[in-house]
Amino acid sequence: MTQPLLKVENLSKHFPIHGGVLRRVTAQVKAVNDVSFEIAPGEVVGLVGESGSGKTTVGRTLLRLEEATSGSVRFGGTDIMSLSTREMRAYRKRMQIIFQDPFASLNPREKVREIVSHPLRLHRIGSESDRIDRVVALLEKVGLGTEHLERFPHEFSGGQRQRIGIARALAVEPEFIVADEPVSALDVSIQAQVINLLEDLCQDLGLTMFFIAHDLGVVEHFCDRVIVMYLGRIVEMGRSEDIYARPNHPYTRALLSAAPQPRPGRRRDRVILKGDIPSPIDPPSGCVFRTRCPLADAECARVVPPLEAVGTGHLSACIKTR
């Protein structure tokens, strides 16, 4: 087995909530709880979950855009959590992020030329004229042209803006990209274009990608492996084929059966979950999914179910389905 490019161990991120006149910490939002996984070089790993699952926080913590509460993240063997800001800078070049909202993530007062060359200036890469050449090459790579160099973000459609965001992320030639819901804000006909672009880039540049999404169809198509999160914990992970064909965890099963499919007349024996997702401030004891789980019993309230193998490279955290 090759060395993982990224190795995450027991990662937790808790956000304090301050209350009372003294602004003391009165509670914790347990956004991410004891999460461990690996990503091999060249792999595309999807992370799916609903609101409050902690998926965005995981992505941001990997890049130290948020500081983890505990746990470690090793990138190419180095524990990046222990690096100083200065030492981290070298790693920032190797790890980039693409954001969900192509409208909010680009500075409206900067021209495309400035936006895309920004990371190059930050990392002091090349001369000014080298940078222009590089920006032109990057725009071409993402399907834009030199005619777009001097334009502002508002002159572009959502899909084109996402392409600009991708060009910016690629500018410093990263090995690893966190893509946080990169197509969720786009129209259906444009989503497919951007997915195809990301796939081409992964192939051509040998990128490793952590793809955060809530669209199960997109994740299945694009990702080699899938991680499913619920209320801050990983409930299941494995190869896409296995997760989609043989989901083990009751939450994964419910999620897959709830996704509306463009096939009319297909009345499935659908699992409709009762109730809302509980608050991450006060998650249920034991298994976090038990309050909505059709299989839950008293035992599920007592123990936090460990992730255990249910197939080759397929792990699930349920004491009822193993």
Binding site: V44, E50, S51, S157, G158, G159, Q160, D187, V188, S189, I190, Q191, A192, Q193, I195, N196, E199, C202, H214, L216, G217, V218, E220, H221, F222, C223, D224, R239, S240, E241, Y244, A245, A254, L255, L256, S257, A258, A259, P260, Q261, P262, R263, P264, G265, R266, R270, I272, L273, G275, D276, I277, R292
Partner: protein
């Protein structure tokens, strides 16, 4: 043939599946928006019928005109900016465009219920849920305060809110997102409207909550027999909930018909393109396979192509597409806006 986009003067479409008089009849609707000194036609000649008890989905991407169509029907276009400039909207034979605002307000709530993506569009944060529903039924059904409160509790129970007798005194902020959605639905249907217009009601919801809402709407429709217009961009939701579908592109209807038939064999290349660009569940990782994306982008309403509005993105475009194609009635009670629908074979996603 002229090159100008003419309003559609097609013969009246057939009735819906439950034949007889349509509940809602939209004919050649034109809605314009003022942008600076110029104006754009956001809805350009939209016609459709809705039978009592039927569910019609209007599907389209940004700028297709689907939401503007629904706002036009409800009489809720932003004042001073949007205006219906032509056509008719008849509810049970009565032309809604001829009504003044108080009359329209009476129609909304009593005959047309509305639900939106964001529950707080309909809910008032400073009143309890019970008071808001009570006011609707007191106003439209003439119930007294005590009867109205009983009715509110009954409605909350109907939409699946637990402990309705206690929840009725909750303010919106005391409820979770899913509960607020249900409360909004309870208010929309409290006067048993014959038409419910749902504008992207599940778009912002997580899939497990979306599934609950779709189930609830189906259940309520079965019990109350109302017709539903469901505005959405999600073909999966269309397949789940609708009997018929109207596909819109750049302000026009480009295809319409029974959901099962359209999904089985779309005739308009745009519809087929949309269906092909969605990755299907249950096929395993297809990383090396490219998705069949539609190239290009939706045209700006300020600079529409002269002929077929989809032609610049269409793999089947030919010289004939330089002339605006009419919305043509085709067998199976369907309509299609494509000059070449008989000459082309469209790929569709294979169904397992």
């Amino acid at each position: 043939m002229t090159m100008t986009a003419e309003p559609e003067n097609a013969a009246p479409p057939r009735a819906g599946p439950a034949a007889g008089r349509p509940l809602l009849q939209v004919r050649d609707l034109q809605t314009s928006f003022r942008v600076g000194k110029s104006s754009v036609r956001a809805v350009d000649g939209v016609s459709f019928d809705l039978a009592p008890g039927e569910t019609l989905a209007i599907v389209g991407e940004s700028g297709s005109g689907k939401s503007v169509t629904s706002l036009s029907i409800m009489g809720l276009l932003p004042k001073g900016a949007g205006r219906v400039t032509g056509g008719s909207i008849r509810l049970d034979g009565r032309d809604l465009l001829g009504l003044d605002e108080p009359q329209m307000r009476d129609i909304r709530g009593r005959e047309i219920g509305m639900i939106f993506q964001e529950p707080m569009t309909s809910l008032n944060p400073v009143h309890t849920i019970g008071r808001q529903i009570s006011e609707v039924v007191m106003r439209h059904q003439g119930l007294n305060r005590a009867a109205a409160r009983r009715r509110a509790i009954e409605m909350l129970d109907l939409v699946g809110i637990p402990e309705p007798g206690r929840r009725v005194d909750n303010y919106p902020h005391e409820m979770s997102g899913g509960m607020r959605q249900r409360a909004m639905i309870a208010m929309a249907i409290s006067c048993e409207p014959r038409l419910l217009i749902a504008d992207e009601p599940t778009t912002a919801l997580d899939v497990t909550i979306q599934a609950q809402m779709l189930e609830l709407l189906r259940d309520l429709q079965a019990r109350m027999g109302m017709a539903i217009i469901f505005i959405t961009h999600d073909l999966g939701v269309v397949a789940e909930i609708a009997d018929r579908v109207v596909v819109m592109y750049a302000g026009q209807v480009v295809e319409s018909g029974e959901v099962a038939e359209i999904f089985d064999a779309p005739r308009m290349p745009y519809t087929a393109g949309l269906m092909n660009s969605i990755p299907r569940l249950g096929r395993g990782s297809r990383r090396r396979e490219r998705l069949k994306a539609i190239p290009g982008t939706v045209p700006s309403l300020f600079s529409l192509p002269p002929g077929c509005r989809f032609a610049p993105r269409c793999a089947h475009a030919a010289p004939v597409c330089q002339t605006p194609p009419p919305l043509e009635r085709i067998p199976g009670g369907r309509e299609v806006r494509c000059a070449r629908w008989q000459d082309i074979t469209l790929d569709t996603p294979e169904t397992p």
